[in-house]
Symmetry: C2
Subunit: 245 residues, 2 copies
């Protein structure tokens, strides 16, 4: 099987005041190793840009048994596990030492950079070796549904530090927006045990975004979040998170 | 001489849309290596917390000949170079390969965690080996002066991701605020060639900060920045930056 492994030292700037890894930093690591693996498979940023193609993360679900801590070494194993319609599916397993502390699965779209339309993964003509029996997390990632009431919107401006090499708000930055929205819960020591983010459309520099949430359950341990463009032009992401103490 | 060297791979999430290292990320690296070196010298976070002491960065000046780029490997060499009144002075030299791309010097205070008062560095009773002739940057860091007009204030909320293990807004995060304030300049490809930040007082979760700037020169290549608490309770930082194309 075709897989990649990388280790990340959990540095001071990737942890919060409780010395626990920020989930937004985990999103950075996750995307970094995926990018490095794609590079090795000759379907990375550099190889695709010549063909007017690039990868975008479309949906991702992460489950963590516990938060990694400052100065721990996080080992991530990742592997592509097949194609689901227009999505390339890639899973991740997170280890501290020999302890398997979490898992995730993700859906990626291959976009044409000229018209931003999804391309068939098969068009890459790359021999990817899949093992259909190998899973980080054996679930399919669906659209998120929420029928309850949403909180009044909090505004957030898009600045320089939110924009990445693809010239739009970085995936992990939306997760920062979510974490910041839940500052009170996270500062009081709650952690995010589960997070799913579905990326729907991109945001650009100087956009103003609005963040709203609603509880799936009365104890508010499970929440729905949506981030939209304030001018009404786009819904950027929908997310689900589950807190634990 | 007593020095430490570390290498940092410039990862996708530490660069901007122009694939250049964000200066705020460089501040993260700089503080991380300083922390690791202090740890080795038995005056790090863990050793000091037992004595109710901790380090705070008080002033820092970085000069860069060029911005490091995505996928380059940045090598940082750091060394303490003596004591200046209540400040411990530490310098840094930045290399890409054998190219010396930048230098910096920094002043650190040793604070008592009970009353937040500065302690004499000599109270650490640590045998630090200094070489007075060795410099990253041979200048003293003074208070910043600005007599011109300041722009109208831009507001910025303090959220979860801004707070570090010392339970206040992280030093590098102020640099993010500055970069974000200058989004237009940085997105258009200008880079920060020189930056000095003087940290004056701390900010906490849920504070609202205001950011103002003024030009030292007509071409606005050199700017003064100040960040204060909106409620008027504190001036948090003063900074100087010089842009180049």
């Amino acid at each position: 099987m075709n897989y990649k492994e990388m280790v990340f030292e959990i540095r001071s700037y990737d942890v919060d005041q409780n010395k626990r890894l920020k989930i937004s930093s985990l999103f950075n690591y996750m995307q970094d190793i995926a990018g490095c693996h794609a590079e090795e498979l000759n379907i990375g940023y550099g190889a695709l840009i010549e063909k007017n193609l690039f990868w975008v993360l479309s949906r991702v679900l992460i489950k963590l048994n516990r938060a990694p801590k400052w100065n721990e070494t996080l080992r991530i194993v990742t592997f592509p596990k097949g194609i689901n319609k227009l999505f390339a599916v890639r899973d991740f397993i997170y280890y501290i030492g020999e302890e398997r502390i979490g898992v995730s699965t993700s859906y990626w779209l291959l976009l044409n950079s000229q018209n931003l339309r999804p391309q068939k993964i098969e068009s890459l003509n790359t021999q990817l070796l899949f093992d259909d029996n190998e899973h980080g997390l054996d679930v399919s990632l669906d659209k998120l549904k929420f029928d309850g009431n949403l909180s009044s919107p909090l505004e957030r401006n898009v600045y320089y530090n939110d924009i990445d090499v693809n010239n739009h708000v970085n995936n992990a930055r939306y997760v920062e927006f979510i974490e910041d929205y839940f500052s009170a819960e996270l500062m009081s020591g709650k952690t995010i045990a589960t997070i799913q983010v579905n990326y729907l459309s991109e945001a650009k520099i100087n956009d103003v975004l609005t963040i709203q949430s609603g509880g799936y359950s009365e104890d508010e341990r499970t929440r729905f979040i949506n981030i939209s463009n304030k001018d009404g032009s786009a819904k950027n992401i929908e997310a689900f998170i589950e807190f634990k103490n």
